[in-house]
Symmetry: C2
Subunit: 419 residues, 2 copies
Amino acid sequence: MSKDRVVATYYVETPFSLQRAAEVIAGEQSTGTFTAVPGETEEVKDRHAARIELVEELDEAGAPALPGAAVPPGHDGRFRRGRIKVSFPLLNFGPSIPNLLSAIAGNLYELQELSGLRLVDLELPDAFAARYPGPKFGVEGTRRLTNVYGRPILGTIVKPSVGLSPKELAGLVTRLAEAGIDFIKDDELNADPPYAPFEEKVEAVIEAVERAADAAGRKIMYAFNITGDYDELRRRHDLVVEKGGTCVMVSIMSVGYAGLAALNTYSEVPIHGHRNQWGMLTRCPLLGMEFTVFQKLCRLAGADHLHVNGLNSKFYESNDSVVRSIQACAAPLFGGYGTMPVVSSAQWAGTAPATYEAINSVDVMHLAGGGMLAHPDGPAAGFTSMKLGWEAAVSGIPLTEYAEQHEVLKRAIEKFGRG
Amino acid sequence: MSKDRVVATYYVETPFSLQRAAEVIAGEQSTGTFTAVPGETEEVKDRHAARIELVEELDEAGAPALPGAAVPPGHDGRFRRGRIKVSFPLLNFGPSIPNLLSAIAGNLYELQELSGLRLVDLELPDAFAARYPGPKFGVEGTRRLTNVYGRPILGTIVKPSVGLSPKELAGLVTRLAEAGIDFIKDDELNADPPYAPFEEKVEAVIEAVERAADAAGRKIMYAFNITGDYDELRRRHDLVVEKGGTCVMVSIMSVGYAGLAALNTYSEVPIHGHRNQWGMLTRCPLLGMEFTVFQKLCRLAGADHLHVNGLNSKFYESNDSVVRSIQACAAPLFGGYGTMPVVSSAQWAGTAPATYEAINSVDVMHLAGGGMLAHPDGPAAGFTSMKLGWEAAVSGIPLTEYAEQHEVLKRAIEKFGRG
């Protein structure tokens, strides 16, 4: 990895040649504008120009993926697709995520010379690690705080997503804590609503958590959704810590990488990174960015946990893509920056085996909302069924076989199993 | 406009019926999950459920716009498109931009039931205005600070975008100020790079600005790009104000609406809002959001100026879309919240008439980088040519006719005119 250059990899579609597209990208995002200007000397270009590192033609399309591309005279009707690597001198922006984004993304998505652009990978020099310390807890810190080892951290999302009063919520937390569950998170829809103000919620939930901990000898981790404006992030974080809470959650797209990085400068508990709104940046295959890039930026900015969807989820994402996301989170960044991938969405005991098979690791959070709370025998049975699902997976025993000895698992399969 | 509900309008594509798609959207983003859970009572639904306000079928497609949609059994191969309005109780999240986003966007873009989703409009109750004061300067404040009335504020972007030392930059600013220009902005690629540290840049530029002001009796407005992490925004803003600067610029997508809103809590000069990276959210017609929504959020969060591209720009956006964007910025929000649209990208004197014709107003900033600095007779002539372009436009005189009496305009047409 270069010490002084950032390397961005793009998947590009263009009515021009890929070489031309690469030149436009490199020019737009470093020393060029649409016409030569005084001061754009050879010396400036030498020190500051972006450099094309790779142009790899892959395939082509008969129609543009995105609207508004300018077609050159005599165009043959083909839109070339390929991979392009462009490197930018770190000198141009320094190790700053906000300013990095203006360089590697910036106006590129709007260029007429492109009919598709997707940022698919990003290599950052060590200076970024020196500037952004990254997750303070990650997998180890989260295991230490929850005292869960040798299996995934199993948790749930408060449902219904909206509408519970602090008292109702505390009652639910108590029932879940008594069921032995490891982790509970607020829904992303629920942070500081007028009907359940944050302060009251924290007060009520933490009391429930502490009481249950006194009884069970193990303290549940509750991720309080502190998403809000900057001053609120700080105030809510501080309140959670002051009251004895052990986790805060933010909607990363709502506060930005800059908001996450700001939170990480003072956070004293793990940051649970929720990725809602992320689909906007990634679902069009020829626009936006890959999760590979997103997770690097999130980890750099300090996400201790990071949502990755789940296998067989209610979302559009393919299982292959989910597995790649989990693996991306597990790959070291700057030799560390470990984050705990959070597997979630339409999860239940039955998604454990495929998840384990895909990643061959138990270092994940596995969250089930309905799949745990709506177990026919209640939340405690839901939690147990999830543990049993993972036991079966790690032991290599088929789920249905394991269910023969375990009634709660069998009942989960009856309710949630799909064919 | 409802006092207690947020109304979001979506353009949707779905393999199901539009009604079904609307129900999934409303359920996912309020009280529902993929299976019924205890606590989701009728009372909770009554108070908190999102409501479908409109389902309007518009057209259909023979193939999905986005990948990953689940096709129902016996699907007829048609993907229905239409407009859907869903209203959300303000009670669910309160007047908070970050939490609003989790509700109106959230996980929606990832739903299997949709093969396309675009947020096209947003109506917010007054509670948002009470919470977010919006732009402090807008058009009037910016005119007051620049002392420019009756015509657009004409400015330029520092080019080359990267590479100028503070001393070189100050030299350029002096030449431009002597030419009588109103406004200069940093390029979005340039905030606090190692080769031109922010402090040194501010020092050098403001000295040049003040000296030129002493000579001319009128002070140029320089928008310093303060984009950075949270603490940097504050430090850089304060430095600009302390030294006597009159404008700061941020890349809104780099700092988030939350970052912009935070800056607006303490800013003492106009905030110049740059929208680089925005293409990522909008270029796919069936994903992301319309500028209509983006500009409302940016104005709410405090953008005094907001970039809108320009007519005949180097970007993919159609002229119609640019005109709609300018008009959107000019439309009152909560009875005010005025922002000054910033027309930019491949602009020169010749884009003035069409811009004026389209908006019938001079309340814009019109920026030309190369189109001003690369005028054959230098930046001063470039600036004069822009003023002449607007004079011609407002007087209803064809540009070429006006150029017969004005050599600098003629020279601009020769260099930048396209057919």
